[in-house]
Symmetry: C2
Subunit: 340 residues, 2 copies
């Protein structure tokens, strides 16, 4: 039978308020009655209604998850999904559950802020590699705690986590350099992807600081971070007739697409062109050649996001950001000449 607080109170012969106090461990209830009530609660498996609780307290123990920008990707994005997994786990131990907003219902308005109010979420995490959209901007500026993953939120109750994209690019260039490559290309996403832009900027800077010559004709861009964009980008490069010796792709899937295009032309990797991807998604280990890449510490990103959000919710933080260290993972797509 469906229980509620009143029934519990009656069964235990106490008032509703007493039961409530026990559930929220107030100090003004004796051990004796607490024990008696708890027994009944356990017997009946009573669990207080979240709606009623939320209505009364304005706290829902719910965290909203928003996939901004790249629609229709959501759960199948190999990088974000790993961050999300770690985030969810951590948020779970902190006592929160996750709610995923459907974009479809309010697809025209995309009004994330009012959806947050609608559900009374305690906070939310916004996942995106694209530039800030207006709907996100509103949420960022609101008083609802927000954490961006790969998205720079700057509101007073906001924060973000991301990998150090400059360092990522720098590690790539260093690796290429030590392998003797001097002609470096780049495959990025669209111009409105902040992440792609940062990686590109870092790449350019690193190329210059290593004293290499920058050749813009080897810089191409796809429409997103997916495999087919990498394929198209590499085809574009192939058409020019001039190929760099090494290419850094802003995501592993872009890299994989580039590999496919090269293979189709009978080119060998890494002998003809060396490739480095970015993210270290699962698939890197299964491809041929296996993909040398820069690993983003997805678990740490998720855990950090969770803790930052928790602190924001509990007013123990004013936001800010965490940048986590990337790591070079050497596999086959660059060769592996010993590097001094």
């Amino acid at each position: 039978m469906q229980m509620n607080i009143k029934k519990i109170a009656e069964m235990a012969g106490v008032s509703v308020s007493t039961v409530s106090k026990i559930m929220n461990n107030y100090s003004d209830v004796s051990e004796k009655t607490k024990k008696r009530v708890m027994e009944i609660i356990e017997q009946t498996g009573y669990s207080p209604s979240n709606s009623a609780k939320t209505l009364a307290t304005k706290k829902s123990s719910l965290i909203g998850v928003i996939f901004a920008g790249e629609l229709n990707v959501e759960f199948t994005h190999p990088f974000f999904v790993e961050v999300l997994n770690s985030f969810k786990k951590q948020m779970g131990v902190l006592g929160y559950d996750l709610i995923f907003f459907s974009n479809e219902k309010f697809i025209s308005s995309g009004d994330y802020y009012s959806r947050c109010l609608h559900f009374n979420v305690d906070g939310c995490v916004i996942i995106s590699g694209q530039k800030m959209e207006p709907a996100i901007r509103d949420l960022d500026r609101s008083s609802i705690p927000c954490i961006g993953v790969d998205l720079e939120l700057t509101g007073t109750k906001s924060g973000f986590v991301m990998s150090d994209n400059f360092q990522i690019a720098s590690k790539v260039v260093e690796h290429f350099y030590l392998l003797g490559h001097r002609e470096l290309g780049f495959i990025g996403s669209t111009a409105d992807s902040e992440i792609s832009n940062q990686r590109e900027a870092g790449y350019v800077k690193a190329i210059e600081s290593f004293g290499l010559t920058l050749n813009r004709k080897w810089f191409v861009h796809g429409d997103d971070f997916f495999e087919s964009s990498g394929y198209a980008a590499m085809q574009q490069l192939l058409k020019t007739g001039s190929l760099p010796k090494a290419v850094f792709a802003a995501s592993d899937l872009l890299a994989l697409g580039a590999v496919r295009a090269l293979k189709e032309q009978g080119l060998r990797i890494p002998e003809d062109v060396a490739i480095i991807g970015c993210d270290d998604i699962e698939a890197c280990k299964y491809t041929s050649p296996t993909l040398t890449t820069i690993r983003q510490n997805k678990e740490r990103l998720g855990v950090l996001a969770a803790h930052m959000l928790f602190d924001l919710i509990n007013n123990q933080s004013d936001g800010g950001s965490f940048v986590v260290e990337p790591a070079l993972i050497v596999r086959e797509s660059c060769g592996s000449r010993l590097t001094g």
Copy 2:
């Protein structure tokens, strides 16, 4: 400013009940006042509190998502995640949002049923390839509408969707047969995986109906559906010294693990051993060799699950099940001799 129904009523000079009626399009309110109130609602961006609404109506417009069994996998399971993506999208157009229960908070009890009551979910989807756990059984038997994905739920308010595992196995054997393979092996998951068992049973049956001889020594099992299990399973097979000519793995990741083990021994695929996986996850396209597999129609599984759940919620169905057709996807891991 945070709105509520009372403020809207005051601003419009009507009663709270009138506003509520407008939001729920009752017929007993005139066009004139409806228009006036709607203007204010739009100006203020008012969105009624879901908690209050749920409390009053017992309907939350929320669907609970449960990953049963394989803990810690959740969002990174390449097959389920694609089903989930399609499910979420479809559920969104039907007006529902998704809520993911954290296993951590109640890890000991794992009491999914009370969590559903706690959140007043209108229904839930249970995702799992493992055998039924008791906590799931309780939920299945309850009056809460449930749909299992790859999980046979039989409660009166339950249903399930899955691929036709016998047909999957049958297509595999047929393909092997036409390629001339007579010595067939199998790599499955643990014995308590219903899905793996069905595929194995179907495989055995197909082998017999093709008049081939069944050799149990080539049947091995891993601890789950993941790559490392496939690797371990194939190593086990290698140790026996006798190898089948063709192996069907109950998941693509198992297949990929097997491929890795074979490659390590210098064996060629498909020349020495042909491999067929199952699911057709993204990675199949990027591996070397690319993986011949049986495609599960993940999008259709998700859409069907959504519609079945919707009908269950709205009492337009008594449950039941949908089995979707699999399709053989020929890539490189079996060779591709023309199969007249």
